[in-house]
Amino acid sequence: MSAEQQNAEPQIGWTREQMAQRVAVDIADGSYVNLGIGIPELIARYVPEGREFIYHTENGLLGMGPSPAEGEGEPELINAGKRRVTALPGASYFHHADSFSMIRGGHLDLCVLGALQVANNGDLANWSTGGPEAIPAVGGAMDLVAGVKAIYVVTQHCTKTGEPKLVEHCTFPLTGLGIVNRIYTDLAVIEVTSEGFQLVELAPGVDFEYVKERTGAPLLSMSESPTNATRA
């Protein structure tokens, strides 16, 4: 699909906010959650009625609350994206080694990250395009995917130029091997199973063929659900 086609298409599927909201629906009550930068940050706005999530930010805060009003807040109360946040009642501060002990030690239930590419074996590439001019920067992404119990990816289904981000093999440098459990895109919710990508839900107005065309690896339809479904 060329960039022109992409531009010509009407806006269909979920918006960024709807994608975030859709992810939130799948988070169990009482979960300890780390949200990556970008669309994942929006998830905090959509806690379903009757549930309580505790947000961890790897720079040293458990019990992170919403962003303060523009121009408010404190320069020393920030999240991993270096934006100002608040702390909720019951919060705690800790140093980086303790924070990553939470991550690496398997104490977080869920991490939601953005992606450059996800392979149908669960490999994730989200930190570098590998270009010679790029300054490599990894932050905590490799620690998160190595340690957190479940990894969800939320991303546009295709790149701005219309290339699929869900692929057979990642061509960008990897963040982790076989660690993605679910993918939420503007077009669909897709589970990464032992048999590859498995459609879970379509965005309103989107059909299976439309998603399949824009996916760079085989996509199982909802009726093709393998017996050995969910990874991890």
């Binding site: 009550d29 009482g30 300890y32 309580e52 505790i54 961890h56 805060l61 458990l62 019990g63 702390a87 909720l88 009642p89 019951g90 919060a91 705690s92 501060y93 800790f94 080694a97 303790d98 990553f100 002990s101 939470m102 991550i103 690496r104 030690g105 398997g106 104490h107 977080l108 190595a146 340690g147």
Partner: protein, 241 residues
């Protein structure tokens, strides 16, 4: 709503199974979760591997658990303490095994287990009998031994104050192993003398963030082991004849 509080020590121990590994906080009596240990005796599971710095004293608390024949193996650094009479008997009879670990290595192994570090090198014990059979490695000209992280099915610890999220602060040197055992326990149970509302603790002074804690039980006036021992008490209490 997240609420990790449970109504009783018995409820706090639900799911402890025969053969489980149980970390028990405390250094001597300081920090010993004695009410949880007594509830564990009542609960009945056996063939336990217990991780504690010592082996208890008198016939209460950890010593009573050992005396009840429920501990197949102790992992500890100092099983020989004043008034520690129970463990020697079971050790010599072969009923309770001992894995002796230097105190700092024990602490680091527990912390590593909780931090997702499977193994690390340490200079401690090199050249001693406790390093025998362990993998050695020279790094920058110094010799080290490889030690492995320790995890537990349950960790039982004592706090001064806790809230419904499981945040905990401790009392003085009763802190000792509790924060790292809280990290290393798959199910971490805290008995706290005070249970406060969420937000009452200053986020700067929380020692154990709630993410490491699964259950909180209120034990308003915890007993002190030395006082029970001084009174000659045992657990379970002897029936008056």
């Amino acid at each position: 709503m997240i609420d990790k509080r449970v109504a009783s020590c018995a409820q706090a121990l639900e799911g402890v199974f025969d053969g489980a590994t149980v970390m028990i906080g405390g250094f001597g009596e300081a920090g010993s979760p004695i009410e949880l240990i007594h509830a564990l005796i009542d609960q009945g599971s056996t063939d336990l591997t217990v991780v504690n710095n010592n082996t208890g004293s008198g016939e209460v608390g950890l010593a009573a658990l050992i005396q009840a024949g429920r501990v197949a193996k102790m992992i500890c650094s100092y099983p020989r303490t004043t008034n520690s009479t129970v463990f020697p008997k079971l050790y010599h009879s072969g009923k309770t095994k001992l894995e002796l670990v230097p105190q700092g290595t024990l602490a680091e192994r527990i912390r590593a287990g909780g931090a997702g570090i499977p193994a690390f090198y340490t200079p401690t014990s090199v050249g001693t009998p406790l390093a025998e059979g362990k993998e050695h490695r020279t790094i920058d000209g110094r010799e080290y031994v490889l030690e492995y992280g320790l995890r537990a099915d349950f960790a039982l610890i004592k706090g001064l104050q806790a809230d419904r999220y499981g945040n905990v602060i401790y009392n003085k040197t009763a802190r000792n192993f509790a924060p790292i055992m809280a990290m290393a326990g798959k199910v971490t149970v805290v008995q706290a003398a005070q249970v406060v509302d969420a937000g009452e603790m200053d986020p700067e002074t929380v020692v154990t963030p709630g993410i490491f804690v699964n259950r909180v039980v209120h034990v308003a006036n915890p007993a002190h082991e030395s006082e029970l021992v001084a009174k000659g008490l045992s657990y379970p209490p002897t029936e008056p004849s």
